[in-house]
Symmetry: C2
Subunit: 203 residues, 2 copies
């Protein structure tokens, strides 16, 4: 079982490797990569060791090769098809973000239950009715769902997404979702982030 923080750091390594490749860096040592990211050299080597042997001792890692390997480990080599359910403030901000496609995330559909929004073009996406989640998710072979619906609606919407064949959910509603064991749910609770910040402010 790979620690979750290792996966978070892999994502940071990937972002940095892409940044370095864009500036012409071909090879980098674990020590230099660690320095740029403010981490320990041993942490970088330990994280990568979960997934095999990548560099040549004394020569470092080939930037293009390592970034490709990490992309593969994260399951992003062929990209991931994503939908957003709930096109309110947060959902539409996420839909508008160009940064997700840099990592292979392809927003294939957005949904809402508000008749005023359904059928409209929101941030460049055609807004489907929530009732169509099952059909559209199957047709577009969507794997990941981002939930940005109100708290009271989140469980019902998660049920629709799971029934439609969604494999994993990124949930922004501040509620614990009950889903079958084979479905992964990650939660982002922005109010909790602020509360934590408040606790540590001035400590």
């Amino acid at each position: 079982q790979i620690p979750e923080n290792t996966i978070n750091r892999l994502s940071a390594y990937y972002r940095m490797l892409i940044y370095l490749a864009q500036r012409g860096t071909q090879v980098i040592s674990s020590k230099s990569l660690a320095n740029i990211l403010g981490m320990k050299d041993s942490q970088v080597r330990k994280d990568l060791s979960y997934f095999g042997r990548f560099g040549v001792r004394g020569e470092g890692y080939k930037v293009a090769l390592l970034s490709q390997k990490i992309l593969h480990i994260l399951g992003l080599e062929k990209g991931r098809r994503v939908c957003i359910i709930g096109m309110g403030n947060l959902g539409s901000a996420l839909a508008a973000y160009k940064g997700f496609s840099d990592f292979g995330f392809d927003i294939r559909a957005v949904f809402d239950s508000n008749p005023v929004k359904i059928g409209k073009n929101i941030r460049g996406y055609h807004c489907y009715p929530a009732a169509e989640i099952k059909n559209v998710v199957k047709k577009e072979r969507i794997e990941l769902a981002i939930l940005t619906v109100p708290l009271e609606q989140a469980q019902a919407v998660a049920n629709l997404a799971v029934e439609a064949g969604i494999k994993a959910i990124l949930n922004f509603a501040p509620v614990r979702l009950n889903v079958p064991r084979n479905i992964r749910v990650d939660n982002v609770d922005l109010a909790m982030e602020l509360k934590k910040l408040s606790y540590f402010a001035g400590k």
Copy 2:
């Protein structure tokens, strides 16, 4: 040193206690609180034990009292004055969110560098120029800053906020900020959250 996950769970306990109080619950045992949140009873008791003795064995916790204590621990008893710097997609979605004020967060000012936005009313807030960060943060005695500016601007903006007297920063730009040791920075990297979800999808 209190573990960060304990602080995250405190915030979840607080949210649940408020929910219970609104529905008339006066007293709750650690076991029931743990059950509702899908946690272990021993975890709830361990988390709370860092901060003192709260319940009477066998009788449970007084909901109003415990929620007040947690509010105090999180430094929210008198509320927290917040500003948002960068009123683009994400910044304006956060500004529009009514949920933050439920926990005592009071958005006192928003800033942007785009002349088209400066001086306008965005989501109910008067948008100040970034050049005014120092004056407004001091005048309004703002303690926390939410950074929703582009990657390339984040460090410069963090410097302005720190100089102005901000104690803690919630940073959404995917870059590590260098700030003095006494300033707390928490990062929310939404692309990393999606990458992690992709890794675990279908595992």
